[in-house]
Symmetry: D3
Subunit: 255 residues, 6 copies
């Protein structure tokens, strides 16, 4: 893996994007009406519906401990992908990939929650991919945070919560080496052919919640890793700005 | 169950609809981009994404028989409902209700397909409920037909198929007795409190494909049944007209 | 589907039966000794063992609500069929067909039960097909009612129940078009080749509990549907008469 | 466990049977009509339906080896027992006890089969308990042998087999210590309270196929074991005689 | 099966062992550190790790009955065998063989436990085969007893138990006919080719807990059975002596 | 998370280790005899048995592509942990954590394999935790590489492979912040209470294969991340040196 080169004027990306350019990212709040928080996230052709449910119970291991829980489930519609995938409900189990992703979403969200301030209730986030074009787990995290913030706002407005359990923003983006060049926010074509792929989850304060880098082809150097981390930071900063623009800057208790 | 009364000027329906009035019904074609046919059906607050996939294989029992297959799967997103339902993929199995519905969708579609003309391929229909407000199985059937027709059109346009395997339209609507009055196209509130509930699947020619009536409270008379069947026929006729308006009248080989 | 013709003197049915003729129907009460109600139903070569169990508990969703529950399970012995079918317990799940049928049996029985009068207990009906020749779901419903009535009689005789929770009879029969002619109580050969198939569940009072019609080949007209409903009514009336003859006319609280 | 005492004139058995007395044992051949061999076995109140199916295939590990296979499955109807048991198909798996028993039945039958003479086909035995009163696995083995013999006879009569693959009879009986006394063919009450329980599977020639003894309470001595083995031998001899009387003495190729 | 011959000076066993010679048997106590009792059993090339866990709960059917429970689970590491076996956790279910064995281990241990003296707690024995060369179930039983005794000693030493619930030793060995000769403690090669195979579980007092004999090839005579029982008794006696040598003679309350 | 401090002379680690000190690490080659490569890895009190199996088949998606596959499965014995965990085979499914770990092991090993040079065969790595004290996934990767190298050596020695498909070493170590200080190779106590936890998988050449960092408490800064990466590099270098010392420096084709 060569050292990162300065972006040239002619992009090497199939989409024509600059190396450090995010896909068009939009969020449609209130996409469905039953959930306490609902948002349809669109990162280019990746579309994820994130719904937050407030449940008046906690998992068994937290019963009577005076704190709440935040958890997530993830799924892909069978034809969200280029060719049809099996329906996990019909196969009778969730794949290892699905479980890995939903555990990641849950951990990422919990990192910015004061579970004691949430009280004995569960915030359950469902991230369902309607259309996939790479980066579904990152879009899920960024969107789930918004769905969660909407649900929290409802609890605060309704007087159910007196203080805001949401401590900070959290958002995620992928970075990777495509044809030897570090690029931000990989789409499916880039993801399929990249040499290394990293998902970075960061808070609004710019700290790391999760860093997951994988060499797809050859192992990568420390210098390459540093280049990817730089790129990810700019990406997450933009996503947090978008979160603030759709929700206002007062979504978190501490900010 | 009393005999059906003439609709009064003041509707008894929570939605304010007339007894024989469908919900606002719309279909957004091409809602996702990977499926060979894709449509988002909205029947009032019931939203179902219907995707048709063309697969170059048939189930084992049809191998080498020179004919194709049409089948369906159905699912509800966990928070499509008023309160969150368990995710079937996480529970590890599809409920009896889910299986019953997806079998119904498959049978309904096969009734208007010439499987030999389809050739040795499978048309797989995925009906996923994004938001539920009653009548999801009927919306699924009506939408799945459109997704199937789009996929067939693609096969014809691409020269894969030389003759149209689609013989007729198929659409479905629910009818039932609410407070003793026969009403068309029940929403969730009506469905929860009705005395009888019937789902009627009919072809464009006005013939029955499936008739499924269930007494929820008391058993109902032949006269009541006749009233429901009358109402259903007008509903299906309107839905077929909508199908024709979005696809044109030439979607079926025979029409 | 042509309009129904008057039955000719020469029957077109493989069994030689008249179009409106039921198979020989018998019920052997007390077929097994442990169940609170037990009956072996024989409708021609279709043999179903129906056992009713009285359980002193209700499902979770009914706990503390002061009412009971009636539910059913259905199964086919692996070699009840012409060729051996897989054992569902060995495959690890019940098929969609099995679940559809047992849900139908449960709904049909509940339609004639006053669940409050039953008290906080469950009447669990097991319908196991020992030998199949078509019409197993209808035989199951007709037999399950008798098993339930026997169990109720035991509870009344034992002073456990003071009033009869059984409101009416319920019985079921299949009808269908075979070679263009409407016939009653289809056996396996007829069922395999019929154009339309309808299962009708009715009360002793002659009202509908369930109507499930399916076009196997071509969709059918309203006129054809009416013909089938006429035929079903005569069939159910005969089955209710048989139920009365084996149990007496006082099996229901209201009759 | 004291040494076995001579049977006194007043039986200690709840049923009033002598210590070495079998229950009334009957076999109804052709109980169902689709199976290639079918028999309803009744050992007192234990009723087991044994069906033999001839399948024109062998398990993968035998493909192309020029020999056949004999296997068995076992099940209890939910209400075959004093109190209702869960349906294994609904629970989604067979219990350890069920698997243990069906493996025993299969091994027992294979012990008297010349699998090469059977050719590349499978004899699949289904043993389903309609009513249970102890000793269901022994009744299953004894009955499965008859069902198998009937199926073999059909293959010989039809010219499918030219030589008889059945080498000998096989039958099984339980023995145990009840109140310190060795008794034959335990029913449910005896089985529940016995100190030791042994199932013995033997051939017509009087040799052992399986011996499975279990101390339920205290461990038992060699002398006690010898007493049980003596008793079992007389029981199996009687059961083989019954098998011969219902099938004739020519059921086995070698006898 | 011929009568047993006196062992000749030239052994017929692949391992060169005398017919009545056990494999080298060793037990490494405290093999793992978390379990309340842990022992690695090595019977020749068969290595089983037996861990005893003390759990402060009992199964539902024993709640509030003032007694404890002893139970076992068994597993084989995928590559404990000559060729790799599927991992049961990945396949999603335990095989019939696994369930049969773990039920046998549990019953064998319970036979020497005073469950009331154990109090309301469960002794859970995990027997995991690290390397298999025949006789894993017997090694598991013999080792599980030692693990259980270590756990009991800890409970007594810690003052949790005031009297010893362990009534006697229990150990198990396999015997069988190899090339017509009765041999003790079969290894994998012998086990694969033997004519009959018997697992015998006995107490320190020399009484039977379980006797499970199976004819692999031809059925065997009473005389052959007697020969195997003789051989098993000497084997178990040696194994009990080894148990005593590693734990001392005071492991049981009664001895 | 404060910036990393220089290690003081008095260690803050429960084990008394220096911050950059690995646990005692040993590898016992040939621990079991059936596997093509077998090693028992001991990293302090974490003991993992790594077995490599060579299978003459590839997964379906690779059939006929002229290349091999490397995959892994992971499991923990129920009592490898401080308190007993459920057996995954008995529960009927692998946990999300298990699947996540075995996918990580597989990817890590594939990163240093030339799958074409491996030919159409699968190297299946089984990593089973006999005793757990933190860091089981890292010990599994480091040990699985050795088991794989042993299996490859066997294939080369046996002439099955002509060139070495193993391109480089791979090893893994955990790092984290304990009480604000970066430490290497966390044991269970440290892992339970740490603020951040990172698993780093690197090649012998010092490049990254996987980087997985998770904030357990608060999110961590770029500076903190850099400190952890430094520490991990020294740890992996030591582990690779140990791999070389047990296998020699010629285990890889390219080194």
């Amino acid at each position: 893996m060569p050292e990162s080169l300065p972006p040239t004027s002619t992009s090497v990306r199939p989409s024509g994007r600059q190396p450090d350019e995010l896909r068009r990212f939009s969020m449609q709040l209130g996409y469905t009406r039953h959930a306490e928080g609902s948002v349809l996230v669109q990162a280019g052709d990746t579309h994820v519906l994130c719904n937050a449910s407030v449940l008046d119970k906690v998992p068994p291991f937290l019963k009577g401990k005076g704190q709440g829980w935040v958890t997530a489930e993830y799924g892909m519609l069978p034809r969200s992908t280029h060719t049809r995938s099996d329906r996990e409900a019909a196969r009778g189990k969730q794949s290892g990939r699905t479980q890995e992703i939903q555990r990641l979403i849950g951990r990422s969200l919990r990192a910015v929650f004061d579970l004691t301030a949430l009280g004995e209730r569960t915030l359950h986030l469902d991230c369902d991919v309607l259309q996939a074009d790479g980066g579904t787990r990152c879009a899920s995290i960024t969107g789930a945070w918004v769905a969660a913030a909407l649900a929290v706002r409802g609890l605060l407005n309704g007087g159910v919560l007196l203080s805001n359990p949401l401590l900070d923003h959290v958002a995620a983006v992928s970075v990777g080496f495509v044809n030897g060049e570090p690029v931000l926010d990989l789409d499916y074509i880039e993801d399929s052919g990249c040499d290394a792929d990293m998902n970075v989850v960061m808070t609004g304060a710019g700290h790391y919640v999760e860093v997951q880098g994988t060499a797809e082809g050859r192992a990568f150097s420390r210098q390459a890793l540093d280049g990817l981390l730089d790129l990810a930071e700019t990406g997450v900063r933009s996503l947090v700005a978008i979160q603030k623009s759709v929700l206002g800057t007062d979504a978190c208790g501490a900010s």
